[in-house]
Symmetry: C2
Subunit: 364 residues, 2 copies
Amino acid sequence: MSEWPDTRILDLFGIEIPIIQAPMAGATTPEMVLAVSEAGGLGALPSAQYNTEQLRAALDTIRAGTKKPINVNFFAHTMPQADPARQMAWRARLASYYVEAGLDPADPIPSGGRAPFDMSFCDVVEAYKPEIVSFHFGLPAAALLDRVRATGAKIISSATTVAEAQWLAERGVDAIIAMGFEAGGHRGNFLTENMATQVGTMALVPQIVDAVNVPVIAAGGIADGRGVAAAFALGASAVQVGTAYLFATEAKIPAVHRAALMRAGDDNTALTNVFTGRPARGVINRVMREVGPISDLAPAFPTAGGALAPLRAKAEAAGGDDFTNLWSGQAAKLARPMSSAEFTHVLAADGLRIMRRLAGGKSD
Amino acid sequence: MSEWPDTRILDLFGIEIPIIQAPMAGATTPEMVLAVSEAGGLGALPSAQYNTEQLRAALDTIRAGTKKPINVNFFAHTMPQADPARQMAWRARLASYYVEAGLDPADPIPSGGRAPFDMSFCDVVEAYKPEIVSFHFGLPAAALLDRVRATGAKIISSATTVAEAQWLAERGVDAIIAMGFEAGGHRGNFLTENMATQVGTMALVPQIVDAVNVPVIAAGGIADGRGVAAAFALGASAVQVGTAYLFATEAKIPAVHRAALMRAGDDNTALTNVFTGRPARGVINRVMREVGPISDLAPAFPTAGGALAPLRAKAEAAGGDDFTNLWSGQAAKLARPMSSAEFTHVLAADGLRIMRRLAGGKSD
């Protein structure tokens, strides 16, 4: 007997609380992952900013801290062809900021990489056998996906539309994250690039639930117990929560990002491609306002970020957030700072309490 | 004792079912309004495409059909200064479509008007005393608003951001419609014109609930019982449902609009300003794709529509929807065609059933 009205994700993953901490590259630490899993939810480790050695070290830390199921997340993008002309146009667009910062626009820049899932990452999956492997931006090639499946891992990925959910279901994923327009960080879109037709969580979740036979995990705009209860009302079997975990003690984010989250409201984030080349939601700052939020000049993902790195480093050193990707969803205001474990428990308890209250009716 | 977990809107409006049928100018008929109110919900009559005589006639029909509370809705925009140069640029942008349709781009065009609330509309309110008066695009001038309030009407308006909700609350509205990004038709935005920062229903409702002391009505992406239950989970005291009522037998929409709704999916609507000059959500068609969805050339609301009218008439006569405003939210796919009364009952029953089920937990 579970208190939860839908136990499909609990049963599938072997967890006690249907709350998945979103893997947030750069911000999610191994300590956050093990704390959430140990609390009964599902901690998720992002790998896109790790090399395989760093990933192994992180997994060693997590496995030493908890015996419970964990989720390892990978980006499934294809690396673009080098496009030096486009890079130069992008650097030209940013050159005046370099001059303003006392930097030379012609200085070498870092590659600004986010690494896609590949054979060497797959070796790590085979060695550590995370119980759940999640992908963002679709799925890797079939041969790689088969290797992951052969480890016994449950495989999940994000859909931003019904069409993407159906595509994932046809390829045999075990569950689908329905990622609404409200969500922070990179959109998971992979069949469409049209941001004008992205779908809000309220409309997306029930339509994906109706369209596929696997359980659905709601994401986007969920940061307190009300969102958890609403997600289950819409037919979801679990929630994935990102931004609210950025307020947790285990989150590792720059001070300027933390400050931006503290002032985040409902309407000061936007989707932008200036930081990486793919649309992602963050708190609006100077470079988003002046260059974006969407710029046709931004080179293909993930290569747009390199040219911003020197500007970001200089600005952050002086306490400025003009060039930092301040990822946040639209519900940051609902979050409360506490430890990841405590937040997982509070979120679950609040969600259950609200669901019980909904059934009660009300005396006049 | 009510079955509903929150009775603030039921008590405030004196209705039995916390479902408000959205006032949809052109599509909502007096028959729909009286059917919804008679069923126990709140029928809402849109006035923006009526003159006062037509409004009186509609109210006569409704009052003859039900003694229950009704809602009359007005647009609260200010009419723009005439801008012949901008109109001419807009007509030039559309001229090739005129030629293609065998029309003369220099022919006189209708004014394309949506009438704002004014003294003569206010006379009708004083004469008919609708129990609830709602506004879109903010509120009318204080003197007019005072006259409405003096009739005893409860006053409500839409907010697309927390800031707009606070603005409305400060001006003494009795309840606030939290209109999420998913909603069809005209956005209610009035303090911002930035569509990049509009907020999804999942994130918007709880943040407005936290920010104001009046009850909140959730709108946007709600078209079945799951959405109703989710809205109450988020803290709403009622829902406003638009698109799903376009499927009702009492809806009056062109055949091409009905056909577009039948094929509407989660991701084939967008916000567009080409039909009226203000952003509104509709099913994507040719003019949205080729001229918009957002065009800097579109003249100020409501004057953009006139130049499209001849194109629309010609296309619709041939069964085409290239120039018709096909208003729809992102959840049309969830709607089911039936009478307005039956739909109101089904929506309420489904919502209550889902809320009861949420509290039940689940046996293994």
